[in-house]
């Protein structure tokens, strides 16, 4: 039972490069989320999705893009990486029911130099 899987775990990017952070869940959850975590700032919501084909912006969407073509996958795309995007990124998923909770991946530590 894999849960939420994020790849890669670590990555160093040069300024201006692009990359995709992968997130996959095997629990058939309809809601998925991307967060970034910076020291002392908590988790900031980047984008989220309430189902395949539906995505919406969170608190800090600038510089990122997402897609949700399947229920299982929710990749986060960074275009033209900047030092301000150095962070730890977490993906999460959950059922859209009040009795549930979000399950998190182990995170991707990204450094932009």
């Amino acid at each position: 039972n894999a849960g939420v899987t994020q790849t890669p775990k670590f990555r160093i990017l040069k300024i201006g490069q692009s990359m995709t952070l992968q997130c996959a869940q095997d629990m058939n959850h309809n809601y998925m989320y991307w967060y970034r975590q910076d020291p002392g700032m908590g988790l900031k919501l980047i984008y989220y999705s309430v189902g395949a084909g539906i995505t919406d912006k969170g608190e800090v969407p600038n510089g990122y893009n997402v897609s949700r073509s399947t229920t299982e996958d929710f990749p986060l795309r960074l275009e033209l990486a900047a030092p301000s995007q150095t962070s730890v990124y977490f993906c999460a998923s959950m059922w859209a029911r009040r009795e549930t909770e979000a399950f998190f991946g182990q995170g991707t530590r990204l450094t932009v130099v």
Partner: protein
């Protein structure tokens, strides 16, 4: 608009003394509220959740929280701190009948002194 505020960025207690981590929320709809814990360089683990049943919620490792609608609060408590409780704690809010966003507070660092 939904929001979550953790009132203390850092809490320091001695081992064996009570822990209180404070969380206030703002929501126009009935909320689901969560406390997550994050140990250094680890992912997030659910401690407990409130989803509309009992207002006093018990979680793992002796933690509990009480949902108080009149005070819009969901404070986390533990009667006796253990060294292994030292970690970052996050309060989170989810409103099913609104956008579906899951919003986190800024986090509280719990330090436990021997």
């Amino acid at each position: 608009a939904q929001s979550v505020t953790q009132l203390d960025s850092h809490v320091s207690v001695s081992e064996g003394t009570p822990v209180l981590l404070r969380c206030n929320y703002s929501s126009s709809y009935s909320p689901s509220l969560f406390w997550y814990v994050q140990h250094p360089n680890k992912g997030l683990q659910l401690l407990l959740k409130y989803t509309s049943a009992a207002t006093l919620v018990k979680g793992i490792n002796g933690f509990e929280a009480e949902f108080k609608k009149s005070e819009t609060s969901f404070h986390l408590t533990k009667p006796s701190a253990h060294m292994s409780d030292a970690a970052e704690y996050f309060c989170a809010l989810w409103v099913s009948s609104n956008t579906g966003k899951l919003i986190f507070g800024q986090g509280t660092t719990l330090q436990v002194k021997p």
